[in-house]
């Protein structure tokens, strides 16, 4: 097909909806760096962005910004009741350090340490709040796995159709460097759905929260060991796969 025949299909290709044979033809033109098609695709990507930006305006919750920064490993969430007390303790420790040691370098080191602890505690608190929300949900059901096994892993799964899935596990070996655990919610007869990445602690325990509605056809919750960047489908044998069918109403 020539470029003129493909011009009506650039936008659909851009948003992943082009039919065959146009999709293969456009890909072929792009692979041989066809200037007409490359320019057409550039314009189509502009159009797609502009249509996307025309969605009705909505405002996310204020906590989303903190969540994103915390999940990237930056900035501490604010607004918890014990934060002022922590700030006071921080100030006190700062003054004490100055008074007793009189060395600015020591103060800075202490400040870094306490700030780091504060950041980690806040992240943990956010996760705990999410976990408690699921545990206390009116529609939450619980199932256990690994009972009676002498080796790992074992634990409990809390599934709330309206809020998400909480996994609490023990005896999970630490993932090798570059690897992490990935949880999957597997619908009956369907493809596994990604349910987030997590790591186990040094003592082999883990808590992982996947927020959002649970597929009503959910049949199993499974965990696999994957590259830490995550994958779209499991590539390794699950460490465990626990039936949740029946606990989702």
């Amino acid at each position: 097909m020539n470029c003129n025949e493909l011009r009506d299909h650039y936008e659909l290709y851009t948003i992943g909806l082009a039919d065959e044979p146009e999709r293969s033809e456009i890909r072929s033109h792009l692979n041989r760096e066809c200037e007409v098609c490359m320019e057409g695709m550039r314009r189509a990507r502009e159009t797609a962005a502009l249509v996307g930006a025309a969605a009705p305006p909505a405002t996310p919750s204020a906590k989303l910004r903190r969540r994103i920064l915390a999940s990237a490993g930056f900035e501490q969430p604010r607004g918890f009741g014990w934060a002022p007390a922590l700030a006071g303790a921080l100030a006190f420790s700062l003054i004490a350090c100055v008074y007793f040691a009189g060395r600015q370098r020591d103060v800075a080191r202490e400040l870094d340490r306490v700030t780091s602890i504060s950041r980690q505690q806040n992240m943990d608190l956010t996760r705990l709040n999410e976990a408690f929300s699921i545990i206390n949900g009116a529609d939450t059901r619980v199932t256990t796995f690994g009972d009676g096994q002498s080796k790992p892993p074992s634990g409990r799964i809390f599934a709330s159709p309206s809020q998400g899935v909480l996994l609490i596990a023990s005896n999970l070996p630490q993932a090798p460097a570059g690897k992490a655990y990935e949880m999957w919610v597997i619908p009956k007869g369907g493809k596994p759905l990604r349910a987030g990445m997590f790591q186990s602690s040094s003592d082999g325990t883990a808590m992982h929260v996947q927020r959002g509605r649970v597929d009503p056809n959910a049949d199993l919750v499974a965990v696999t060991l994957e590259d830490e960047a995550g994958v779209d489908a499991p590539t390794t044998t699950p460490l465990f796969a626990t039936p949740i069918r029946g606990i989702i109403p």
């Binding site: 936008e11 909806l17 550039r42 009705p56 920064l69 597929d215």
Partner: protein
Amino acid sequence: MMLLPILMAVQIRADDSGLVARMQRRDPQALAELYDRYGAVTYSLILRVVRDTGIAEDLVQETFLRVWNRVSGFDAQKGSIGPWLLAVARNRAIDYLRSAGGRERNAVEYEETDHPSLYCDMEKDILASDKARKVKSAIDKLPANYRQVIELAYFEGLSQTEMAARMGQPLGTVKTWVRTALKNLRDELAVVSV
């Protein structure tokens, strides 16, 4: 009015290329600024697709982390981060919608369409440009059936075959509507570009 301009929500306070360069140096403040500039428009797009505020926030988080983790492949001088961010956001949302609906996912297609290297040589600050307002206006002015196919494609990720089934129309009719609607948008952009 069904669609209201969100374009004013895009706060362009400084050159995006500097922001991208700082993200590539792993400056956490740059991630915060990226969110301040594009968080609202990203959330609006995703919410329009999934129609659930909790899920939308989860997907916004995924979107920003994906961009943060892949920004090294982005051309800070020639790239246009707003359109790239929205492409990632749309793909995340449509992928969720298809998974939740038991529809076939096409992760390979998404990988092809939101690769950072593709978002080069676009107009600077295009999301706050006159083009953006024109496209918004052009969508509002489309006849109802044309506007519906545009929304089904962009915001629900339906193929033309799926649209025909959803709308109860022959496939050929739907293809004509899609082609005409997209041509209208193209023509509107062409007028602005002249």
